[in-house]
């Protein structure tokens, strides 16, 4: 079975972005960019399934700018076998990304699509579900554990009240939550090896799919800042303040 892992290049999770002065978006110029943390977990899970003998090949794909090659190399240094860059300079919405990914799925015919549940830039948490719907495949979102057997995948899902387990017929789409695994670090020899692994480049426009946006960004603003409060000396003083000043207890 082949596993396709869609990945996204995002502003590193440690970097706090600034809203552009003209309110048109956020400043990303010159910021450290990384593989989206949830996608890193998805890459790791796919590699583990290959190591267990469940999968035979792990293919990573990203829809993004030329520079997004770096996260594909990172994924291959972790252990993915090959990569596809679908090039576009436009910022695509989840619906458009799902359309592009569907075209790649039809070409690659994977038995499983494993991807992060959410990108930490637009925080949409939607691409996996949209892709699954468009493919007519079942979905296992917010996965914290997966087991593949007899043409099905059992997915433990993190839900509001606890954990739910569903059994999906393959092919399926699984989206990774934080506790699915702890991704490995790429070793130096593997980073060197990854440079020689195949990286195919396609133009998004050549896929012949609808990449249009349905949302127009009217403005982007800073959220209201909280004022730094005061430091207190004791728990008793805190309770006093909560009662008399904040009047919250």
């Amino acid at each position: 079975m082949k596993i396709l892992v869609p990945v996204k290049r995002v502003v590193d999770y440690n970097v706090k972005v600034r809203v552009a002065a003209d309110g048109s978006g956020v400043e990303t110029q010159g910021l450290k960019m990384s593989l989206n943390p949830f996608d890193e977990i998805a890459v790791e899970e796919a590699i583990r399934l290959r190591e267990k003998g469940v999968a035979t090949e792990v293919v990573v794909v990203t829809i993004g700018v030329q520079a997004a090659q770096d996260i594909l190399r990172t994924s291959m240094a972790m252990g993915a076998d090959r990569a596809i860059l679908v090039k576009t300079d436009d910022t695509l919405e989840p619906r458009a990304v799902a359309n592009a990914l569907k075209a790649i799925v039809e070409r690659e015919q994977p038995g499983l699509v494993c991807m992060g549940k959410q990108a930490i830039d637009d925080d949409m948490n939607a691409t996996g579900q949209i892709l699954a719907a468009k493919l007519g495949w079942p979905q296992g979102t917010f996965a914290s554990a997966v087991t593949v057997a007899d043409g099905r995948i059992e997915v433990a899902r993190e839900i509001d009240g606890g954990t739910e387990i569903v059994s999906l017929a393959l092919p399926a789409v699984v989206t990774a939550d934080l506790r699915l695994n702890e991704p490995r670090y790429a070793s130096l020899p593997n980073i060197m090896k990854a440079r020689k692994k195949p990286l195919e480049m396609l133009e998004a426009a050549d896929l012949g799919v609808d990449l249009a946006s349905r949302l127009t960004i009217v403005s982007v603003a800073e959220p209201a800042e909280r004022k730094e409060g005061i430091k207190l000396g004791s728990a008793a003083e805190l309770v006093e303040k909560l009662k008399t000043e904040a009047k919250v207890i």
Binding site: N125, G128, Q139, E228, K231, A246
Partner: protein, 301 residues
Amino acid sequence: MTALVLLEVENGEVRQASRSALTAAARFGDVDAIVFGEGASAAAALPGVKRVLSVPGLATDLAEPAADLLASIAKDYSHIVASASASGKNILPRLAGLLDVQPIPDVVEIKDAETFVRPIYAGNALATVRSSDAIKILTVRGSSFDPAPKDGGSAPVETLDAPASEKSVFVKVELSASDRPELEAARVVISGGKGMKDAANFKLLEPIADKLNAAIGASRAAVDSGFAPNEMQVGQTGKIVAPELYIAVGLSGAIQHLAGMKDSRVIVAINTDPEAPIFRVADYGIVGDLFEILPALEKAL
């Protein structure tokens, strides 16, 4: 215009976050409600619901049959709304995929019928977006809309058949039993972080939570370290809470954690590190050892 709101019913009551979604949906006009599984009567009692569509045959929230059913009735609605819960985030984007719509997740403000505000970059920016889709599909943050009252209405109930689901089968669910209020609905939340040191120490939060009728939360670091179960995580990718009082104990205040609680009315931080970012959003802070402060706090309450 008529909106459709997806309501989640738990133990015979419509979840508070779903009642907030109803408040949001009512901004668009008349509201029909849909309930998967049992609970149509609780939905029918909500004032402002014009009609309840009951799907008792879909007892679990499997996204595949739920989205199929929603897609089959979607053309009657201008907006389809759910709370930004695990269930809402599972089903509604799939529905959007079936209808070729770009969903609008985590809405915190409705400007007009097609313009919405949603946080991006872990809440470090607020984007106002206008949708050109004929049917708007959105999930809304419970903390941003007042919940509709529980009763006073008497909407008629129509029963719909559940579509088959062969590719996706529900196996089981393990819910953590707790007498405490739900995290998203609690008036007071007390959360522990990595500074709690181990799972046993999380119990130190319980007597204080008991006194304040608080829900107990955890930072991602605490959950990752196995101190607390995943459903307790507050943050960008966990629960988003905005209680009257949020008490952060032994947690540093990473960006992704702040994203889940910084809209709380009053924030208290207890941490040994005076430089911890949590103090920058806290109204009241105590720098010190939580193992000394927590028992003192329990006594002072």
